[in-house]
């Protein structure tokens, strides 16, 4: 993770908007937003990152989850200027640059861990952090960790299977390696 805190100066664009430097999916960029714009709307409207979606607007559903300096946050609750100099990762940044899916994305496909998939991006981001933080999480711990992400289609069983399987695969990879 690049530390860019000192390059994080927000500047005014002159038309009432702010230029906000940030690292976005591994690339240095400048977000442009009004002071009250959320990170969610800025990522969608300015950056075209449509994998980040609004489900509730009040931090309750997790559909808008992105990684901010390595921690999952609800982007509907973060104001755009707050991300100055920080590192953001969205679902669009999970696959390798050549398009190879991450093992987590692959696990979601293998288990069909979605129906309408509106919630999927948020689950992927939260689960990615879970896998880093708790590589040995039990099924119960996974459920608990993911409880802040809602899926109205009720794909929970398959999401749980996918994440548990991912942890298993990563553990197997570690012992083999």
């Amino acid at each position: 993770m690049t530390d860019m805190r000192n390059q994080g100066d927000v500047t005014a664009t002159g038309d009432g908007r702010l230029a906000i430097p940030a690292m976005l999916n591994g690339r240095q960029t400048t977000l442009v937003a009004r002071p009250w714009h959320t990170l969610l709307e800025t990522l969608r409207d300015q950056e075209g990152l449509y994998g980040v979606r609004e489900g509730c607007g009040v931090g309750m559903c997790g559909a808008c989850t992105v990684m901010l300096d390595g921690e999952p946050v609800s982007s509907c609750l973060v104001l755009a200027p707050q991300v100055a100099g920080r590192e953001i990762r969205t679902v669009e940044g999970l696959a390798a640059p050549d398009g190879t899916l991450s093992d987590l994305q692959q696990a979601f496909i293998d288990h069909t861990a979605f129906q309408c998939s509106y919630c999927t991006s948020g689950f992927l981001i939260t689960a990615e952090r879970l896998a880093e933080e708790h590589p040995d999480a039990s099924r119960d711990e996974i459920r608990h960790y993911l409880a802040g992400n809602l899926c109205r289609c009720g794909s929970y069983v398959k999401i749980l299977d996918a994440v548990a399987d991912l942890l298993e695969r990563r553990r197997a990879g570690r012992t083999a390696g």
Binding site: R34, E41, R44, L49, Y50, G51, V52, R53, E54, G55, C56, G57, V58, M60, C61, A63, T90, V91, E92, L94, A95, L101, Q105, F108, I109, D110, H111, T112, F114, Q115, C116, S117, Y118, C119, T120, S121, L124, R143, H144, L146, A147, G148, N149, L150, C151, R152, C153, G154, S155, Y156, V157, K158, L160
Partner: protein, 794 residues
């Protein structure tokens, strides 16, 4: 299906085939789904597009005295500020819409009828400008007396929600309009089978009980969104709709256009659950585009979504008569559905919901009165389960209450009454493919049902199990059509207007097409709806699409198969009868190396592609006086069993395990079948335990996801068993998208009763109600009162 003896026992589908396989994908576009690439309508922008925002009524019933939009118009970036009066003043458009009654104004005209009704709309260059303008609009209301409950709305001197009777328009073949002018009764349905008084006279026991369910919301994670371009005479609208052709006909009517000039494009939906069936954001978005001369986008906030459309609150009174041997012989049901301020599809829903109260039971004497009632609450419309969740909550709770009063085993009481082949349901249809006994037996065995249920106690917690079993129709008559196109490389386009909303519709259609044409699923693409190009489909709801559109697609593919066989017959000089389709080639039977690829055949034929169409149309209808006839082309059947744990100190209910059984006939996509069944458990569990729209003077108190709970990971049972029953001889697909939902609520309620002795008849079963029930039981025990129920045994 003709010529085949129906009613053979089924076999349990192996849905647990592990993970998805390339040849049997869980979802065709799975890669897009995990990379954030699904193109929901909310992602859409057009050059010059404006953003719309809506000012909504703060009064449940009021006369609009004055609207001042002057200051709002001055806000930089604002292009149009629209009121209902502006629409009425134009002669080339209509101001009202609605699928059955044209009772809903695009924007309120002179009067508001619920808190949340659209009053003024603004279209501006961005949301900031639109928001600023809304803040400057002034509306003055003169409040009128509102009606919210059934008792208020049906009172002799009740204030009328619609003082002028709403205009009925061209409507559906299966909806009979019996509205009662001068009252708040929006529509009624009646069913008369046998002689109800005779039935009660012959009964040894008669019980009467009343059940209620509150309004709940669909809560699709994607809220309603439309992007309309009505600058020219024609209208193009991209929208979140489960019924694109209904949006088309309504817009055509509102804008006085032939249907051919309205193009409705539907993308993949972020969930529907019935909430996106009938026109909602579409007329307003198109109207704003027409007035502003710019493309316009309207995307509802979660708060707006909550009052855009809801599920009917319901009150059902069941009077049920039984013989001494337990056979139910008479049922009278009185059903009220709160349809809110506008009818939406309430006039049809009361029919299915009303018929539903007959249950999966052969009852010789049935009398059903069902009514949709107007109130000053947000409109209620279609909802996953379509009235059957509410009906099943009533009859599957009552059958257990009766069993308890008579000291009988509720499983055995059901077994005495479940429909079998040759018996008739409420609408008098003779069952010829009945599987309720198998379904109930399966869940009972899987959950480990035993009688009597002795609650297992562990500290302050008690556990027990409960059962339920339901019947549900599917919309009839109905029509689905499809068109398929085989390309020069042998790949296939399937064009349908069925909507992909997470149920895996496109994948199921691809599987069926690939199967009929003996080709790889990976070479099939299934369209999303675009009414200018894809052929008619009545609706994507009612768990009908896999069956109906599946038939239409299979038939269209049959047309392609015939063409391929004929072309190959000419090319190979082999009679068609001696040829077969296999693995992307037409081959000679018995000499499989003698074959010719589809790609070669299409190229040889020189037309560029092969084209074929297919359709599937069902007929039926009910007698308007007796409700007898054909209500459904086939009957959806399901059973459920729940094991719950109740904390006696807090009243909190936890669902530990759930077994779902549905009659699928044939499972097309096992992974999707499981997902749908598991999703139904998540959905129904919320309805059973906590979902409820709470109003205070018509104002929704919990219209956000902080206060309105939906099931999260923490609420889910540790075990969900999915049991899909197939019937390999008939091999007829039965939809399962909502079939598994109605059993969930009563199964949980019955388990809570067996654990605690507390019987809740007004859903949801909140901790508070359970606790209150426990205290009442204790008090009754202390007083030594008898535990006799309210029923009247004779």
């Amino acid at each position: 299906m003709s010529g085949v003896a129906k009613g053979l026992p089924g076999t349990w589908a192996d849905t647990h085939r592990g993970t998805a396989q390339p040849e049997q994908p869980g979802m065709m576009d799975a890669r897009d789904r995990v990379t954030g690439k699904v193109d929901y309508v909310i992602n859409m922008t057009l050059p010059g597009m404006l953003h719309a925002m809506v000012l909504r009524s703060t009064a449940p019933a009021a006369r609009i005295v004055r609207i001042d939009t002057e200051k709002a118009r001055q806000v930089p970036g604002v292009v149009t500020v629209l009121t209902g009066r502006d629409i009425v003043s134009r002669t080339d458009v209509r101001s009202h819409f609605g699928p059955v009654f044209r009772d809903q104004p695009v924007l309120a005209v002179d009067r508001v009828r619920f808190v949340g009704e659209a009053v003024v709309a603004v279209a501006a260059v961005d949301r900031d400008a639109a928001r600023a303008a809304l803040d400057l609009v002034e509306v003055e209301y003169e409040e009128l007396p509102p009606v919210f409950t059934f008792d208020e709305a049906l009172a002799e001197d009740a204030a009328l929600v619609h003082p002028e009777p709403p205009r009925a328009g061209a409507t559906f073949a299966d909806i009979i309009v019996h509205s009662q002018a001068g009252s708040n009764v929006c529509n009624t349905f009646k069913l008369r089978k046998g002689d109800i008084e005779e039935g009660f006279a012959q009964s040894d026991y008669v019980f009467e009980d009343t059940f209620t369910c509150p309004a709940v919301q669909h809560v699709p994670l994607e809220t309603h969104c439309s992007v309309a371009d009505a600058r020219a005479n024609d209208i193009v609208i991209h929208t979140t709709s489960q019924i694109p052709f209904m949006v088309r006909s309504q817009l055509a009517e509102v804008f006085n256009l032939p249907a051919s000039r309205v193009r409705v494009v539907v993308h993949t939906l972020g969930g529907g659950f019935g909430g996106k069936c009938y026109p909602n954001t579409e007329p307003l978005t198109a109207m704003l585009s027409r007035f502003s001369g710019r493309p316009v986008k309207l995307h509802l906030s979660r708060e707006e979504e909550f009052t855009a459309i809801t599920r009917h609150a319901m009150r059902i009174t069941l009077k049920t008569g039984l013989r001494a041997d337990g056979k139910v012989i008479a049922r009278k049901s009185t059903c009220h559905f709160n349809t809110g301020a506008y009818a939406d599809i309430g006039p049809r829903l009361i029919k299915m919901g009303g018929i539903g109260t007959g249950g999966p039971t052969s009852i010789p004497h049935v009398w059903i009165d069902s009514a949709a009632v107007y109130t000053n609450l947000p409109p209620a419309g279609a909802y996953r389960g379509y009235g059957i969740s509410q009906a099943a909550w009533a009859y599957e709770t009552q059958i257990e209450m009766i069993a308890q009063r008579l000291g009988w085993d509720p499983y055995e009481l059901r077994k005495k009454n479940l429909l079998v082949n040759g018996e008739t349901n409420a609408t008098g249809e003779v069952m010829d493919d009945a599987h309720w006994h198998e379904l109930l037996d399966q869940v009972a065995a899987k959950i480990g049902w035993s009688w009597p249920q002795v609650p297992q106690r562990n500290g302050s917690k008690v556990r027990a199990k409960g059962l339920s079993c339901i019947i549900k129709g599917t919309v009839t008559p109905s029509a689905s059509t499809s068109m398929v196109k085989m390309n020069e490389d042998g790949s296939l386009h399937v064009m349908t207007s069925s909507v992909e909303m997470g149920q895996g519709l496109q994948t199921s259609m691809a599987i069926l097409a690939a199967e009929r044409l003996a080709m790889s699923v990976a070479n099939v693409i299934v369209s999303t709806p675009d009414t200018a190009f894809t052929p008619y489909d009545q609706q994507t709801s009612s768990s009908r699409s896999t069956h109906s559109m599946g038939m239409a697609v299979t038939r269209a593919c049959g047309g392609i198969a015939d063409q391929l066989l004929n072309l190959a017959s000419e090319a190979l000089e082999i009679a068609v009868d001696d040829l077969e389709l296999s693995d992307g080639k037409v081959r000679a039977k018995g000499a499989p190396d003698k074959g010719i690829g589809y790609d070669v055949l299409v190229k040889n034929q020189k037309g560029g592609n092969l084209l074929a169409t297919g359709e599937y149309i069902t007929g039926g209808g009910l007698d308007p006086e007796t409700g007898q006839g054909i209500a459904a082309v086939h009957w959806h059947q399901a059973a459920g069993a729940a094991e719950v744990e109740v904390d006696l100190e807090t009243g909190k209910v936890n669902v530990l395990a759930y077994e779902a059984a549905v009659y699928a006939g044939r499972v097309v996509n096992p992974v999707q079948a499981e997902l749908q069944a598991e999703g139904n458990v998540a959905f129904g569990l919320g309805h059973a335990l906590f979902e409820e729209m709470v109003y205070d003077n018509g104002q929704l108190q919990n219209g956000n996801l902080g206060d309105y709970m939906i099931a999260s990971f923490e609420d889910m049972p540790e075990h969900i068993g999915v049991n899909c029953l197939e019937e390999p001889v008939l091999n007829e697909i039965h939809g399962i998208g909502e079939t598994g939902l109605p059993p969930v609520m009563p199964a949980i309620g019955n388990a809570v009763f067996h654990a605690t002795g507390v019987r809740i008849t007004d859903a949801p079963i909140t901790a508070e109600k359970v606790l209150r029930g426990l205290r009442a039981l204790e008090a009754a025990r202390a007083a030594g009162a008898s535990s006799a129920g309210p029923g009247t045994a004779r």
